[in-house]
Each structure stands twice: as C-alpha cells, then as structure tokens.
Amino acid sequence: MKQKHLVLAMLVIVLSMLLVSGAVAADVYKIGGIFSVTGRASFLGDPEKKTMEMMVEQINAAGGIDGHRLEAVIYDSEGDPAKAVSAVNKLLHKDKVIAIIGPSTTPTTLAIVNFTKREKVPLISCAAGIKITTPVDPWVFKTAQSDLLAVAAVYQQMKTAGIKKIGILTVSNAYGESGKKQLLSQAEKFGIQVVLNESFGAKDTDTTAQLAKIKAAGPDAIVCWGTNPGPAVVAKNAKQLKIDIPLYQSHGVGSPKFIELAGDAANGNILPTGKILVTSLLDDTDPQKKVLEDYQKAYQNKFSGNVSGFGGYAYDAVNLLANALKGSSGDKEKIRDNLEATKGYVGATGEFNFTAQDHNGLSPAAFVMVEIQNGTWTLLK
C-alpha cells in the first residue's frame, strides 16, 4: 500500500515537472545550430559556434525577441555528413527547435536539407556551395557568398586589368570542382579564354609540373582555386619557377594564415575576399564598416582572437533569423515568410536582399578584390 502511494507521489511530481517545463518552453524560442566545431573544418565551425552563442547572449541581454528569450541548442557535426544527420534529427524531434542555423560545410548541409524540408523548419546554412540554394527550396537559405559571386568578382577585376587568357589550377575536391565549373562557365561572359585547366591534390607536396605546363601555354594570368594549405604550395612553386604573370587565388585562402604559410611568395597574389578581412581599409561611407567594427569588437572582447569571415556567416544568420522571428510568435511558416521578405539587411558578409528566387540574397559587391603586398592586404579598386 505504502509503495503504491510512493509511486503515485512520484507520478504527480514527474507530471507537474513536465507541465512546468512545458510552460517555460512556451516562453522560449528554441533555435538549433549545427557546426563543424571540431575536425578538419573546425576553422569554419569554431568561430561560427562562438558567434552564435555570443549573439544569442546579446539578444537575450537586450530583452529577447518580443519578450521571448532565445535558447540555442548547438551540436557538433565534426564535418561529417552522417553526424550532421543525427544532429538534425535530435534538433527536430528531441529539442523541437523552430529554426536551424548551419551546418558549416556544403556536404553536411546537403545531407540534412531533406530532413528540415520534410519537417518544414527554416534552415539558414553557413556553407558556400551553390547547390544549397539552386534550385531554390522555400525552406532553405544561406548566408555565405557563393563561388558564383567570387568568380564574377575575379573576372570583373581581370577585365579592368586587361587580362584575356588564363590558366586555371584547382584543387581536386568539392571546393575546387565547384570553382572550376564557375570559372569555365562564366569565362565567356567576361571575354576571357581559359587556355588550360589543371588540378592538384589537396595533400600534394609539389605542383611545379602543373605550373610548368600552364606557363608553357602562355596565359596572361593563373587562377588557383583551393583552400589552405594547397594554394600556399602553388604560390611558393610559382615563385620558384619564376612565373611573372599575376597569380589569382580564391576567397578560400582569405585569412592571415595564407600569408604566414606562403611567406614571401604570397606577395603579389590577388584574391576576392569578404570585407571583414579589410575592415579598417574600407571607406567610411561603406555601410558594412560599422557592422563589421561592432562585430569585431564584441567578438574580441569575449573570445580574444581574430574574427574571420566564417564567424560572420553565423553573425548574419542569427541576425536574419532574429529579425524574422519578430512578430512571428514562433510560427515556422511565418518565420520563413519573414526571412524571404528580408530586404536591405546590411550584415558582416554583405547586403542581403532575399527574394522567392534568391535565397542567398547577395551580389558580387559582397566581395572586394585585394592584393597581398609586403605581407599585408591592400584594397584593389
């Protein structure tokens, strides 16, 4: 008899706890995050996670959204699509979030989009791959600039510099392949001829064979498309082979690490980059300058360490989502509609203007062209 009472009492306690937590949950907007915090892509995921936590804290300190506190549930995908899928299932079914930010890389994003679409939960990816938003899915957005825009920015600069023939050298992984596709397909539009297209392995120790071949083909410039450390090897080899035509790099190397790795060989390299790298060089009239300065100050106060453009993707994603949450009372359909209606949001990455046909919302103006001189960035006009 006594035991029965005990069981009953416990049941009551558990039930009341459930009720209480249910009541609390109604006041909180739960949003999910999936980032490659550890593993190969940790240089993306780590600043993204930190930025998201910082932003949520800031928003809560300012009173939340329409009186609702934000709560971030963040999982680490380790850059592994399988882990991203298990994370998204946890977010959707266990944590029941109303929107998701991330993942950090294109493969992990593509692995989870079907799950978020099915559950009709808005997703704002921080990955660059153009496949994420083409064709446009109503529930999927992204904040990172596409390769499409980076290539357009490079070709625009080449056109002004009078470069007509180029040789391209891309890394043989998803990043390089995607870049190669854009380089080849957009060349004609800018009146540029690709005379030779070569590739190198992400772990290759030497690329002189490829560079010698390109040099022999006699282009006006070489475009190298890859992420560290490969392009630094290319830059070093190009210097050793005394190749004196301009070497263009992709936005994938836009970090001080590239200059450190390539050393002297980095000088003279030209690349497109997000504005965050050159904030102090920007015109005061640039609307992004203030946003970037604020973000950098807040980030450096909290984490010590430099900001990167990657953290900026999460910065924009959280802000875009926070704006969309306003007046939505947590309704996912409304959040989605608000996101799609976003116009003229000036963020760390660029100015976002979403439409039903464009869920990236950026223009080539999100990139600036920089040249490395004496081991530091200089802005090209």
Partner: protein, 291 residues
C-alpha cells in the same frame, strides 16, 4: 623540352622523398617481416619536430636536424617497446593491425600537440632556383636528393661493411639460424625499428620546406612510400630507392603530359601493371628473398 626537364626535376624531388620513405619501410620489412602502416606518421613527426626545433626554438640547422631525427628514432623505439613487443599474439596480421592503430594514435597525438593548422618552413639554403635548360631547379631539391643518396648509401654500407649490419642481414635471411649462431635477433629487430623510424623522420625533415607540414600529412606519404617499396620489391634496399624515384617521375610526367587530375591514377595503374607482370617487384632477386 623545357617542360619535360621541369617535370623530371619535380618528379625526382618528390621521388627522392618517396624513396627515403620506401627505404625505411623496406628495411623494417626485411628484418621483421612487418609492414608498418604507421611509417608515414614518422615522416609527419620528423617534419613537425623540425618546425618546433628550427622555426620555433631557433636551434642551428644541423642541431635541429639531428634533434628531429633523434625524436623520430626514439619514438620508433618506444612504439616497438610499447605496442609491438607487448602483443600477445605476434602474428604478422595482428602486428599490422597494431601499426594501423598506432598510426591513428600518433596522428591524434600530433593534432593535440601541434594543433590542426599547417606550418610553413623556409628553405634550408636561401639560394635562388637554378635554371637548367630553361627549367627551374630548386635548391631544396638538391638537398633532398643528396640526403636520400647519403641515407641509402649509408644504410648500404652499414649492412655490407659493419658486423652489426651483417648480423641484421643474417637475421633477415634466417632468424632462427642467426639466433643459433649467437646473434641477438630481438635486438636486431629493435635496431631495425629505430633506423626505419629515423628514415621516416629524415624524409619529413627534408620535405618540410617545399610543402606544408600538418598533423595529417603522413598517411598519404606513407601510402606512396609503400607503393614505391612494392614497385621496387619489398625488402630490397636499392629496389625501394629506385621504386620511389620511378613513382615520383611517373606521377610528375603523368600530371604534365596527360592530365593532373589523373596523376595518382596513372601512378597506381602502373603499380598494378608492374605487380601483375613481376609480382615480386621490379628489382627483387629471384633466389635470395631479401636484401
């Protein structure tokens, strides 16, 4: 013409690195019949130790090289003592799986010690590249090829001229008979481990200035070294050396003349072809199995 020379230069440089790695692998195989899949990680340890000793601490170059080689050797001995000798069931397959495990462990440990970012290192000598037939020859390439030749020559002399070396050869030919005639075969195995790991470290030290060193650089280099040793005939010193050079040159010519996207494929298809025609490798002597 100019390009062909350039492809050859670049092929010989990478080839010499593969050769040094292959020599280490082959050396260990002939004395212990063990294929060490953690061999590539010793290359990584050599390169990263060099980053620490030369770039960070600023030791003079010869001292830093000696230190990095010593670090590689020491690690090889520790590895033998802790992982290989303690194996309860020393079947070759068990030991090979242990080396795979050790490879993952070393990679993880290096990631913790040195972090995930790659490191860059200046060239050993600050000379300009030399032009021969219009192709650029890097000073570091000369360093690498010299180091490879000196190392292989040194091991050759050691095995042929010194008593310890001859004892090692004896162990390799017939362990039991060597033991019966008073050669401490176990000690020879340990020595082989040390030398093999040292070879790996040397490869890492000399390759570091032409490429970027990071905790995960070892695996692919280990595999390339393994291929080179197979081409030359596992267990043969100069066979492994020639195999390394051949693999490097094939890769570079494949990249230059056919397509860089197929670079690795060309090299591996040739490896399969060679093994199909000569299963023992190109330079494996028919009667004497090893050395």
């Amino acid at each position: 013409m100019q390009e062909i020379v350039q492809y050859l230069f670049s092929g010989i440089t990478t080839g010499a690195v593969y050769a040094v790695i292959a020599v280490g692998l082959s050396m260990l195989y002939s004395s212990t019949e063990l294929i060490n899949f953690a061999h590539g990680e010793f290359v990584m340890i050599g390169a990263l130790a060099m980053v620490t000793l030369w770039v960070r601490i600023g030791l003079p170059l010869p001292l830093a090289v000696a230190g990095a080689v010593a670090a590689g050797c020491m690690l090889g001995l520790v590895f033998e003592r802790l992982a290989i000798r303690t194996a309860r069931n020393p079947q070759p397959i068990t030991l090979i799986i242990i080396t795979v495990g050790a490879s993952i462990f070393l990679k993880g440990a290096a990631m913790i010690v040195w972090g995930k970012d790659p490191f860059s290192m200046p060239s050993f000598s600050s000379h300009e590249s030399i032009e021969i037939f219009g192709a650029a020859l890097l000073p570091q390439s000369i360093w690498i090829v010299t180091a490879a030749l000196v190392l292989a020559g040194g091991i050759h002399l050691f095995l042929k001229q010194t008593l310890t070396g001859k004892a090692m050869v004896a162990c390799a030919v017939n362990k039991k008979a060597a033991w019966l005639s008073g050669i401490p075969s176990e000690k020879m195995g340990i020595l082989a481990f040390g030398i093999s790991a040292g070879c790996g470290a040397v490869a890492g030290i000399f390759i570091a200035p032409i490429t970027m060193s990071s905790y995960d650089m070892g695996t692919i280099l280990g595999i390339k070294g393994f291929c080179a040793a197979m081409i030359g005939g596992l267990g043969s010193l100069w066979g492994a050396f020639a195999g390394g050079l051949l693999l490097g040159i094939l890769e570079s010519l494949g990249a230059g003349l056919i397509s860089s996207a197929l670079k690795d494929a060309i090299a591996f298809v040739l490896l399969l072809l060679i093994l199909y025609i000569r299963p023992g490798g190109l330079f494996a002597a028919k009667e004497a199995k090893r050395f």
